[in-house]
């Protein structure tokens, strides 16, 4: 079976699940009653264009219970919130998805860089985010434990928007100092953090000498020159670097190892079939852009816990061809949508 056939088969199963009264959730059952029955209409991923774009307000305005599939009724759920926005955040509920995603991701990182049993440190957004539990699960799957240093990205965004750069810097120092203290007193070999925090940590601590052998990174734009800087200068070509693209709504898209011809341009591949990424023409989102062309990122999440068709991310990326071991399209050089036209507050997250 090809990847495409596996995806279509998975899609039919998920559609059947979410739109059947015995298993589906109140939101999608009601939606189907007002629109169409996807169990009839959606057979392949190409048919997904019949769905409108998923509205992020639905995840803000509606109570989480509307997303509980009938099959999960009565089981307490985790409530996860999205990253660095202010105001009412988007919320996604879940049970096991994050474990599935990160158990799979564990197979993509090497024992050399993340020795089994060696402790991890997470320095980044914890709080109500999926990432907090996901990273701990990832460490646990590898027989490890994890230390945590929290960073509140909403506070950082507020500081930057208010031009309180000094306070933002103080807060970043506060976060990094705590990580430096842990590294000084505890044996840690794996690190999860954001690129900016990694850079700041490396200004205080020799990452390799501190015992770190692998860095799993995500959170903000990583353009090729910046990736090169991290690999060559921050990690001095001695520490494994694993950039990822992900969020609460998708899970995480791993990157393929960099080759010299990539010139430090990172391509990420969605955890298909559980999530599908498309790079679309922003003015006609039915249209996928050509390879190596910029477009807006569209995410479709397809798990039994959560169905989210055609959500337009606030990111743009280059569409890339499939590359082993992935048989589907990748997204590269992800940056905030409209980054070339507008100034986007990304902060340290």
């Amino acid at each position: 079976m090809t990847a495409q056939e596996r995806l279509d088969s998975h899609l039919r199963e998920i559609i059947q699940w979410h739109f059947s009264p015995e298993t589906g959730c109140p939101f999608w059952l009601e939606w189907a009653s007002k629109n169409f029955d996807p169990r009839q209409e959606i057979q392949t991923i190409g048919d997904m264009k019949k769905f409108p774009h998923f509205q992020d307000e639905w995840l803000r305005d509606l109570q989480p219970e509307v997303w509980v599939p009938a099959a999960y009724k009565g089981r307490p759920f985790n409530i996860f919130e999205t990253g660095g926005t202010t105001g009412m955040p988007k919320q996604r509920i879940g049970w096991e998805d994050f474990r599935t995603d990160y158990s799979e991701f564990s197979e993509k990182i090497s024992d050399e860089h993340f020795p089994r049993g060696g402790a991890w440190l997470m320095m980044g957004p914890t709080g109500p985010r999926r990432l907090r539990l996901a990273i701990e699960h990832l460490a646990n799957v590898r027989g490890s434990s994890c230390y945590f240093i929290d960073l509140d990205p909403r506070f950082v965004k507020k500081l930057i928007s208010n031009k309180q750069f000094d306070v933002a810097r103080q807060y970043m120092d506060h976060v990094v100092d705590q990580a430096a203290t842990i590294l000084k007193h505890r044996k840690v070999s794996g690190l999860f953090t954001t690129p900016k925090l990694l850079e700041a940590l490396a200004e205080k601590v020799d990452i390799f000498a501190a015992g770190i052998r692998g860095v799993f990174c995500g959170g903000t734009t990583m353009l090729p020159q910046y990736v090169r800087f991290i690999v060559e200068e921050v990690l001095e070509n001695r520490v494994g670097f694993y950039p990822t693209y992900g969020n609460t709504l998708m899970g995480l898209a791993a990157s393929v190892p960099l080759l010299p011809e990539d010139k430090f341009s990172i391509t990420y591949y969605a955890p298909q079939p559980r999530a599908v990424l498309r790079v679309v023409n922003s003015t006609n989102t039915d249209e996928t852009v050509d390879y190596d062309t910029w477009g807006r990122v569209e995410l479709t999440t397809l798990t039994k816990e959560f169905f989210m068709p055609r959500f337009l991310e606030r990111d743009e990326a280059l569409r890339r061809k499939p590359r082993a071991p992935y048989e589907w399209d990748g997204v590269a050089e992800v940056r905030p949508f409209g980054a070339m036209e507008n100034k986007i507050v990304e902060g340290v997250y």
């Binding site: 850079e199 200004e203 090729p224 020159q225 090169r228 010139k263």
Partner: protein, 476 residues
């Protein structure tokens, strides 16, 4: 022939970034070079280890560095020097033509700027003598000594001088040149459209025997510029009023913003005003009116309307000419939107009652003009009825000046901070008031162009006092 690529120079070592910007001909858009852009993190890392750059200069005596400056002047003016990392070289003629094509400055002005820069290198001993008020250069080498029979000791305030450079006037590079003779490495963030002059100066210094380690050339973004300012112990910044405002009143920074330079005529000399027209017109329009030392206001006790009209007759007809025309007096805009903004701002100001664009009737055309694809701003003389008018004390990157009638007794209370003031007067009392004024950085008494600068008298900050601090000393 391939397009030259200017790498960043990380303590002298070329670094080709994966991010590059193009520097283009302001008229045709032709790409004349690509320039590597570095991220702020690179600056932070390099500046953390800047000590070795300073050590490389400490090996020389100040006298040796002065000799290197003189040799560098010759290379800068006459040498064929490396241009980037692709094997290109650049003759003085090519430098002049390329800079003209990207900055919009006509050849004649680039040549004048080149001469100014080279002069400051050639005259480095005179420059240092002025900055240090005659200090024996050995005091800087040894760290202590005597001056006028008094023990003195100076220590460096920084390991590097940061420079966030503008794109509009190559001669401003002469401001940082004394730093090399004073054993201080430079970390230069070049202006986006003007990488040429700092790069050529660095190559001139290296060819003359200066250590490459002492030179940082870091084209970078806004965040990188911020790091240059923050992490260099001392830094110079050039920019508009908003840019420099955040760095003002901090001894770590020397700010070069708008100059609001002015010409004042005293009551005793006003009847002779026609004799001063050439000096006034030159002060307004030389160097394309782009310098902070260009006069942007003429303040007179009477005849304001007549003086404005006479200046307008002189300057109003000036129109853009080909860049290689020796009579070219106007500069093109590398960024045409800037011309549009200035034109709009002047028009907006004119809507406020109390001001007249006197040049309009002598211009025979719009203020914003085009020639061969280039965008230019033709001179504007505005007669304002008082210093309350929004156009009375404005500075734009083109020949622009207001003429304002103010009684002599009120002038100093109204002019505000002024980088250069040329006061045409012989009145001892007025001269005394001018000499006492804290608002004036450089004072010319008599009909002297505001554009005249002296190598032995800094008109804006003192680089020696900026880079060195005096301590008391006793040696047993």
């Amino acid at each position: 022939m391939s397009i030259p690529h200017l790498p960043a120079l990380r303590k002298g070592a070329p670094y080709e970034s994966l991010e590059k910007v193009e520097v283009k001909d302001h008229r045709t858009g032709e790409v004349l070079a690509t320039v590597s852009q570095v991220n702020a993190g690179i600056l932070r890392r390099d500046l953390n280890r800047i000590g070795e750059a300073r050590e490389s200069l400490r090996k020389f005596t100040v006298d040796e560095l002065i000799a290197i400056c003189a040799k560098a002047a010759d290379y800068f003016l006459n040498g064929e020097l490396p241009l980037g990392d692709q094997g290109h070289t650049q003759t003085p003629q090519q430098y002049m033509e390329t800079l003209s094509r990207t900055s919009g400055l006509p050849h004649v002005m680039v040549k004048r700027n080149m001469a100014k820069v080279a002069d400051s290198l050639t005259n480095m001993r005179t420059v240092l003598n002025g900055l240090t008020r005659g200090l024996d250069t050995k005091v800087i080498d040894v760290g202590y000594g005597e001056q006028a029979g008094c023990p003195v000791s100076y220590y460096p305030t920084t390991n590097a001088l940061g420079l966030v450079m503008p794109s509009n006037s190559p001669a401003v590079n002469s401001l940082w040149l004394p730093a090399i003779a004073l054993k201080t490495p430079v970390i230069i963030k070049p202006g986006r459209e003007e990488p040429w002059t700092p790069y050529r100066l660095i190559q001139s210094f290296i060819a003359a025997g200066a250590p490459a380690l002492a030179f940082g050339f870091y084209p970078t973004d806004h965040e990188g510029s911020g790091e240059v300012m923050k992490l260099c112990g001392r830094a110079l910044i050039f920019g508009d009023a908003n840019t420099v405002a955040q760095y003002k009143d901090n001894p770590k920074f020397e700010c070069h913003g708008p100059g609001f330079s002015k010409i004042l005529i005293g009551e005793d000399e006003i009847e002779r005003w026609p004799e001063f027209l050439d000096v006034i017109a030159g002060s307004i329009s030389e160097n394309g009116g782009r310098s902070c030392i260009n006069a942007s206001a003429v303040v007179v006790p009477k005849y304001a309307a007549e003086i404005a009209d006479a200046l307008a007759q002189k300057l109003g007809p000036l129109a853009p000419l080909a860049s290689d025309d020796p009579n070219a007096r106007l500069s093109g805009f590398a960024n045409p939107k800037m011309a549009e903004f200035i034109d709009g701002a002047i028009e907006q100001g004119l809507k406020e009652p109390g001001a007249e664009d006197v040049t309009a009737k002598y211009r025979n055309g719009p203020r914003k003009a085009e020639l061969n694809g280039g965008v230019y701003m033709r001179p504007t003389i505005v007669h304002c009825n008082s210093f309350q008018h929004p156009l009375s004390n404005r500075e734009y990157m083109c020949p622009f000046a207001s003429v304002v009638q103010v009684p002599q007794a009120d002038m100093l209370a109204q002019i505000g901070p002024s980088l250069v003031v040329t006061a045409i007067t012989k009145d001892p009392q007025f001269k005394e008031q001018l000499l006492d004024s804290p608002l004036i950085e450089r004072l010319n008494i008599g009909p002297i162009s505001t554009m005249r600068i002296s190598w032995n008298q800094p008109h804006e900050g003192n680089m020696f006092e900026f880079l060195y601090k005096r301590r008391s000393i006793e040696v047993a």
